[in-house]
Symmetry: C2
Subunit: 217 residues, 2 copies
């Protein structure tokens, strides 16, 4: 393997982390305002994106207008990865954010074709796993369980006591396959049972972890 860039300290990382590192180092830094599009549905897939700060959602609009959120991404995440040559989802900034972007060919040049492929495989696998979990949530969970699982997932990723929700209720609803009203009701319910507590509309704190875990099933 020939390296056109010093990556020796990356050898022991998992393959997708190498990609992340390369993009973070060599990619073009771009900022996106809250609500703007980073890539669009039907765009060609040619870049790798690493989120530096802020939060991203991937969205898909069906022909009849029904909206679905593919996933949410946070700092450090690689995103914009898709199974085909065209984007099935669009990528949008949930908040003002900083993204590092590289063309695939640039990553291949920096890390080697083999390393790129290894990283892509690893990253695609992670994506598949997330999608499978998401599918399970959608297929057999009640509204209550979905919302609980969602809050747990979000709260799980940061250590700070108060967790920030970068997305609005509509985004949560479209991710969970529910309506905005149902999401709101479940949040109220979980709060009234002292399982979570909302300090603001988009900031909450888990009060009873065990209860939340049991619910999330």
């Amino acid at each position: 393997m020939t390296l056109a860039y010093p990556l020796d300290d990356l050898r022991d990382r998992r393959p997708s982390a190498v990609l992340t590192e390369v993009v973070d180092r060599t990619g073009v830094r771009m900022t996106f305002r809250r609500g703007t599009e980073i890539f669009a549905q039907d765009d060609e897939v040619d870049h790798l994106y690493v989120l530096v700060s802020g939060a991203i959602r991937t969205t898909r609009i069906a022909a009849d207008g029904r909206r679905q959120i593919g996933d949410f991404y946070y700092p450090g995440d690689l995103f914009g990865l898709e199974p085909g040559p065209l984007h099935q989802f669009s990528g949008e900034a949930l908040s003002d954010c900083v993204v590092k972007i590289s063309r695939r060919s640039a990553v291949a040049a920096a890390a080697g074709e083999a390393e790129l492929e290894r990283g892509m495989l690893d990253a695609t696998r992670q994506e598949l796993r997330r999608t499978q979990e998401h599918m399970l949530l959608l297929s057999r969970k009640t509204a209550r369980e979905r919302v609980a699982a969602f809050l747990m997932q979000i709260a799980h990723r940061d250590t700070t006591p108060a967790t920030d929700l970068p997305m609005g209720r509509q985004d949560m609803a479209d991710y969970l396959g529910l309506t905005i009203e149902t999401v709101s009701r479940m949040l109220t319910q979980l709060q009234s049972e002292a399982i979570v507590e909302f300090e603001a509309l988009r900031t909450f704190r888990v009060r009873r972890w065990q209860a939340l875990e049991n619910l999330a099933a």
Copy 2:
């Protein structure tokens, strides 16, 4: 790339097709009786499977007993591919079937490590795409639309006028995130509207393609 097996005629195929071909040629041929398990949930992922004849389902049982079908596989399909080191799904024979099985290391030896990885990436991408479509079906479609979409998907894959359903109603229900009763009702409904026609419990014929497509949304 060094080849320990003659694969020159495979050069122009898509990467996953190379894997399929290698497994089909060099793998161990095994037969499974209807209803038997080919690999189990929590088994180590170490093999590649190519279905020669019959049909397969992948199943996942949640802690609380809720059952979900990941996907159905047909002759020519590569299956048993998963994102992690352990199987999240079990693989079961829907009918008596013939499967060719290779260890990953054997495929790597036959086709080369790079070719294996390229093929795995391609195959994982296909898997991801199927899962994404499945997710869309589960998140925002009505029972009627789900059943219609399912029948269309099945009917689409073969050219014979009468399509065989290798799975029972319970499997359909668990794939579609519905109950067996709802599936049955929707089938009756679609039939009463002359959109499809059941010649037997597990054999149907599409009467009005356009109507079915419109429904499947």
